[in-house]
């Protein structure tokens, strides 16, 4: 059997195991080890696989990941998220769909201290959803806002997904983090527009909030200073070249920890924050290790280079291939978890993207946006499951229904990312 056929069989076996419920990390390591052992011999398989966990963790560039994860969990356990929501509610509560708008703003604020969209969704399901219900908001609409707001965490720095992408495809993490900022802001603007249009069309979905005195609004601002500090340290530190992404993450973690201590975070909450951080970090690294074993196997088969070669020789314009890749990711996003989907497809897709002449940083932003659309679309939409998991009284169908208007907005955002790559690359290019 030729190696490329073995590569295709390996991919088929991996998809089968993942569908059967084997965690992505273990399924990819299993297929990778069996594949390398078959192509070479079992001792090569064991030797190569055994080096991967240490080699793919003992690295300076990877140290940004646990620190980014820590920022989010410490902020959450210290109640900084609650302060952000409170401030947003006071400032924009009077706008059409005021509490929904506040939720999007606060989600953007949380995104600036957290890189995980499911964590953000979980926080605002507990925090913002009951508030919106109390004020008579339509439950499906409110649940949709919370689920969609969570996706901002993947684009607005610090983003764990962008860091992982950068490490896997060996592209500058600093440039990726900067590039994520403008599409993140664009997403906020589009979501706010969607809320405004939906509420104007159906005012019954979201009653208007009572006015808040200016003095109260101003008093709420210092509570969100930490959030702005973290954004400032990460963006300015990296942009000006003062700090590496790891250093900016370390300083931002220290700021959040100091704020947490000022808010008298209890030792027990600190312990919970640490264990949550460790759990998310370990989950990410397990997937990276497993997929790296699988990537080694694919490299032995020569499949990625062969696919890239075939794709570049297709007699169609390159945008057609890009459109096919976008559709593939949107479909995969409906059934696969974002992290697993990204890591499993990149070894084959990325060489083709580079061969077609697309910018790796721009593609990283597009890919993360596509993944985030996947987390709010049925049947697997992870963020919607998080809402339903925390609030079983809100059926999954209602959450998906609430998300539906935002999907039109997502199409607009993807269109802008595809049509204006220079806009996406503005900050990284200015940094250069």
């Amino acid at each position: 059997m030729d190696p490329i056929t073995i590569g295709y069989l390996g991919i088929a076996a991996l998809v089968l195991l993942v569908i059967l419920g084997v965690p992505v990390a273990f399924a990819s390591a299993f297929v990778g080890i069996v594949g390398i052992s078959y192509i070479r011999n079992p001792s090569v398989g064991e030797g190569l696989a055994g080096m991967i966990p240490f080699a793919n963790s003992a690295s300076y560039s990877l140290s940004v990941l646990p620190l980014f994860v820590a920022i989010g969990f410490l902020a959450m356990h210290a109640g900084i998220t609650t302060s952000a929501y409170d401030a947003a509610r006071k400032w924009v509560g009077r706008a059409p769909g005021g509490l929904a708008t506040a939720t999007i703003f606060a989600s953007a604020g949380f995104a600036a201290v957290s890189g995980a969209s499911t964590a953000s969704t979980a926080v605002f399901t507990r925090l913002a959803l009951p508030e919106m219900e109390k004020r008579g908001y339509d439950r499906a609409f409110a649940a949709g806002v919370v689920a969609v707001g969570g996706t901002l965490a993947a684009l607005i720095p610090p983003s764990a997904l962008l860091v992982i992408y950068g490490i896997i495809v060996e592209t500058s993490v600093a440039q990726l983090l900067l590039a994520g900022f403008l599409p993140g802001i664009l997403s906020v603007v589009v979501y706010l527009l969607v809320i405004t249009v939906v509420v104007k069309l159906r005012p019954g979905l979201a009653p208007i909030e009572p006015a808040v005195p200016m003095i109260e609004k101003i008093r709420a601002l210092p509570q969100v200073a930490g959030v702005f500090s973290v954004v400032g340290v990460i963006l300015v530190g990296i942009y000006m070249g003062w700090m590496t992404p790891t250093e900016s993450a370390g300083v931002a973690t220290a700021i959040i920890l100091l704020m947490a201590m000022r808010k008298r975070m209890k030792l027990k909450e600190f312990g919970h924050g640490l264990l949550d951080t460790v759990q998310t970090t370990a989950m990410i690294f397990m997937v990276i290790w497993g997929v790296m074993v699988f990537v080694r196997f694919l490299a032995f088969t020569g499949l990625p280079a062969s696919v890239a070669d075939s794709v570049t020789h297709l007699d169609v314009p390159r945008w057609v291939i890009l459109a096919a890749i976008i559709v593939m990711y949107l479909l995969l996003g409906m059934i696969l978890d974002g992290l697993g989907m990204m890591l499993l497809t990149l070894p084959v897709v990325f060489p083709s993207i580079v061969a077609l002449g697309y910018d790796p940083v721009w593609f990283g932003i597009l890919l993360v946006k596509l993944i985030e659309v996947g987390v709010v679309t049925p049947p697997v939409g992870l963020n919607c499951y998080v809402v339903n998991g925390i609030r079983p009284d809100i059926p999954l169908e209602s959450v998906f229904k609430g998300v539906a208007p935002f999907l039109l907005g997502e199409i607009v955002i993807i269109g802008v990312i595809v049509a204006f790559p220079d806009l996406i690359l503005l900050l990284p290019n200015l940094m250069n």
Binding site: G21, A58, A70, A254, G271
Partner: protein, 188 residues
């Protein structure tokens, strides 16, 4: 059998949590080292010698320390769209497959990591700048993989037990049922 599994689950859980907390404290240590580097470099024009070596070796502990704890909390990404709909024996059959595949893969990773550790120990491999021996980090990764393997084997054994008695309660999987109801269901 069930009592033995539960006892091992509790002991393993304590070790996993301790490893997790060590990893968490190491992450805080990472924060301290990089902040010290930034302050030392920018305020005193005196960067910490070997900070990159220190951070990279700490990362081995930060990344690997939590893997057994994460598996004990079923925190690894998996797709349950199909298996989530299964109940009783079909569900536990799928779980047996999952843990058998996972345990075998982790066993090979652990064997390979042990070989890697032996080579690093024999060759005296160390980091580039301040020569930290790499066997320290590799041994932590190997021990974490061993603990992960122990957890997966325990989950495999528990899945096999539940395959035989699908309505029994299980501390490992967090399934609690009234003893009499489970007994009656099994008889039925």
């Amino acid at each position: 059998m069930q009592a033995l599994i539960e006892a091992i689950h509790k002991i393993l859980g304590f070790i996993e949590r301790s490893f997790g907390l060590v990893a968490g404290l190491v992450i805080m240590g990472l924060m301290v080292v990089v902040c010290a580097e930034v302050v030392g470099r920018s305020a005193f024009n005196h960067p910490i010698r070997g900070s990159i070596d220190i951070v990279s070796q700490m990362m081995a502990i930060a990344a690997a320390g939590g893997i057994p704890y994460t598996q004990s909390k079923f925190g690894n990404v998996r797709m349950t769209i199909l298996t989530g709909r299964l109940e009783n024996r079909p569900r536990w059959l799928a779980e047996v497959l999952t843990y058998a595949v996972a345990a075998w893969a982790v066993w090979v990773l652990m064997q390979g990591s042990t070989g890697f550790l032996e080579r690093a120990w024999r060759s005296g491999a160390d980091t580039a700048e301040i020569h930290i021996p790499t066997w320290i980090g590799i041994s932590f990764v190997t021990v974490s993989l061993s603990l992960l393997l122990a957890r997966l084997v325990l989950q495999l054994i528990e899945s096999l037990r539940l395959l035989a008695r699908p309505r029994a309660s299980s501390l490992v999987f967090g399934i609690t049922r009234p003893a009499t109801a489970a007994l009656n269901a099994d008889k039925g």
